[in-house]
């Protein structure tokens, strides 16, 4: 067990203000009717009673970020020649993300296997990830769309978090799960939390009790491959899909991106920006050929990636975090749980 502390609810804002002196602190708050992770402002109320509308993905994987700045300059020896110089633009600074849920932060562990792979480390992601700490809130009660326990997680799963904060009466039990987490718990506002450990565990266990039984998803990877060629299955599943990008952009573990150049005059920048595999242009080739021409193909890829391809490459780990945002925020209510279970239960027609 790591370091255990107790924080009184009344001390939450002061504690975050303290952390904000050396770090950029992100916390969920309302912007209009949506709860998003934004730079902490002590004058604005944070909203942590329920999971945020958007996960804290942007804190480590921004919606757009500069990769390379390039400048053109004329060669003074030969004015018809244009020299180009490119410079990488690496992120700086440290950050603390407060108020994510276990499912939100689990998303980053999905990123890590891909972005921090040894031979192909993404230096931009690494710079942010190494310098960001997560203080995650354990969940007290699931929503009807929560299914973290189907995919190997739980309401108090600390994977990927530096500190897990379990809400109890009038305060939080804080437990560190990493050296970064221990460093976060040095404030004088925190008292020793040993006598609150059992209260915290009670909350954790009650949350797990209130979850409905999880179906067995172990056959999902193979079954999804089995129905790959069954376009009838996928056309039915995708009939109501609008092929927008809401599910992908709200998903804590969707990590696809696009690289584009923008120029003004003699300068320009190469950006990377969020992209989503539900978009018609995602796999469009210059010849005009598109391997995924219809929304049925694209939905098949998205569900396939989360529950089959990613587990296939990464030791069976399902990259879906079970947060349920794609279900809640899909304009037409597509339920990925339904699709996966139908694939598992699908028996090919005989004859």
């Amino acid at each position: 067990m790591g370091l255990v502390k107790y924080l009184k609810s009344a001390d939450l804002t002061p504690w975050l203000e303290e952390l904000a002196q050396e770090n950029k602190v992100f916390a969920p708050r309302y912007e209009g009717d949506a709860v998003i992770f934004a730079p902490f402002d002590p004058k604005q109320e944070i909203s942590i009673k329920h999971a945020a509308t958007m996960p804290p993905k942007k804190t480590v994987f921004p919606q757009s970020e500069k990769l390379v700045d390039f400048t053109y300059s004329k060669d003074p020896e030969d004015l018809s020649r244009v020299m180009i110089e490119g410079k990488e633009v690496l992120p700086e600074g440290t950050a603390v993300v407060f108020g994510g849920r276990p499912c939100d932060v689990r998303g980053f562990t999905m990123f890590d296997r891909v972005y921090l792979a040894e031979k192909t480390t993404d230096v931009y992601y690494k710079a942010r990830r190494d310098n960001t700490s997560f203080i995650t809130l354990a969940c007290e009660k699931p929503e009807t769309t929560c299914f973290c326990h189907w995919v190997g997680s739980s309401p108090y799963d600390a994977t990927g978090s530096d500190v897990l904060a379990t809400p109890i009466e009038d305060g939080y039990v804080l437990e560190s799960f990493s050296p970064k987490g221990q460093k976060l718990l040095t404030s004088k506002l925190l008292e020793n939390g040993d006598r609150w450990i059992s209260k915290g565990q009670e909350v954790n266990e009650n949350a797990v009790e209130s979850l409905t039984d999880a179906p067995d998803l172990s056959r999902a990877p193979q079954k999804l491959l089995d129905v790959f060629d069954n376009m009838n299955f996928w056309e039915k599943a995708a009939a109501k899909c609008l092929s927008c990008g809401a599910c992908a952009y709200l998903c804590p573990s969707c990590y696809c991106f696009n690289i584009t150049d923008e120029t003004t005059g003699m300068k320009g920048t190469r950006f990377r920006s969020w992209d989503n595999c539900m978009s018609a242009q995602f796999t469009m080739e210059a010849s005009g050929h598109n391997p995924r021409p219809t929304k049925a193909h694209r939905l098949k890829n998205r569900v396939g990636h989360k529950f089959s391809y990613y587990p296939g490459i990464h030791d069976g780990v399902i990259s879906c975090c079970g947060c349920g945002r794609c279900i809640k925020s899909c304009p037409v209510g597509i339920d990925i749980r339904e699709i996966v279970q139908e694939a598992i239960n699908h028996e090919p027609a005989i004859g």
Partner: protein
């Protein structure tokens, strides 16, 4: 709803001639419905029309062109169907329209505001006047009139303006009477910097998911959108509120004279940005200049898709 059985029977009778009939059915929780694609008679059992039937199903029609499609429509949805017919984006002979007397649909964000949170709804009973919602071991009653979408409170077309079959008794369309642009007018009382500041703030959280575009029945070019084009290059992919505002403006302009204010764009937004107002403003202007309302007359042509040698209300030269 009394007409449900009549509607189901009607669809059942016509279904053998059709490839698919689109309606609504129950969804992931008692507070949501979802589009329902019916291909066999057994599928009709699940059909449910209620104040939760918020989706404008007309958005699926252009993608199903060539197939024989039945569609259940609210009054506002039927106007989208008319618009698609006006622009020759669907074929009248391939679309079978089922209408019903619509008394309005809810606005989920209003319910969320009233209840604080809607993640744990256990049951929802609805009547003409109220929603009785049970969640977190508490039961709360909300007045239906307060939970209805804004468009429903000032609805002038509760009955489908075009239909092949109509289940139940028509409520009666008001047509041009009582056109309401109060929201736009109130907003325009703000100064220009205040208005611009409002939009910069609201659009900041836009994630460029294009749910607003794809939910719109008239955005048929969603797969080749100007917003994602590199040639010509209108918008950058940078996370920049000016690019996001530019997209909304392009979108509103491309819908001028075509938008029927079904509100799907706003409803679809996963971060609740109030984008409908741009199109309402456009429609107000279109009304003034062309005395035209979109999606009412299948024989009409949207003003920006037609040509006149002399415009009635645009004075280019003063002789």
């Amino acid at each position: 709803m009394k007409f449900q059985e009549e509607l189901k029977k009607c669809i059942s009778d016509v279904m053998p001639e059709l490839d698919v009939v689109i309606g609504w059915c129950a969804s992931f929780d008692p507070l949501h419905a979802t589009p329902h694609f019916m291909r066999r008679k057994e599928d009709i059992d699940k059909l449910e029309i209620s104040p939760l039937s918020v989706h404008n199903l007309a958005t699926y029609l252009p993608g199903l062109r060539g197939k024989k499609v039945g569609i259940v429509v609210k009054g506002c949805d039927s106007r989208s169907v008319v618009e698609l017919l006006q622009e020759n984006l669907i074929d009248r002979k391939d679309v079978t329209i089922f209408g019903f007397p619509c008394t309005g649909v809810v606005d989920q964000s209003k319910i969320k505001k009233a209840l604080g949170h809607t993640g744990n709804v256990e049951s929802c009973e609805m009547s003409d006047t109220a929603l009785v919602i049970k969640m977190d071991d508490k039961t709360q009653t909300l007045a239906m009139a307060e939970m209805l979408a804004d468009k429903c409170s000032s609805c002038r077309y509760p009955d489908a303006v075009i239909s092949d079959y109509f289940a139940g008794e028509k409520i009666g369309n008001k047509g041009e009477k009582d056109v309401d642009y109060a929201a736009v007018e109130a907003f325009e009382k703000l100064s220009v910097p205040e208005r611009f500041g409002y939009w910069l703030k609201e659009l900041d959280r836009c994630i460029r998911c294009y749910a607003c575009r794809n939910a719109c029945p008239l955005c048929v070019c969603r797969d080749h959108c100007a917003a994602e084009s590199r040639d010509p290059h209108w918008l950058s992919q940078e996370n920049n509120v000016r690019d996001k505002l530019m997209f909304q403006v392009i979108h509103a302009y491309h819908l001028a004279g075509r938008c029927t204010e079904c509100g799907e764009c706003q409803r679809a937004c996963p971060v609740d940005i109030p984008v409908l107002m741009f199109k309402q403003k456009m429609n107000q202007e279109i009304r003034e200049i062309f005395q035209y309302e979109a999606g009412v007359d299948p024989e009409a042509t949207p003003p920006l898709l037609s040509f006149k040698m002399e415009e009635e209300n645009i004075t280019e030269k003063v002789w």
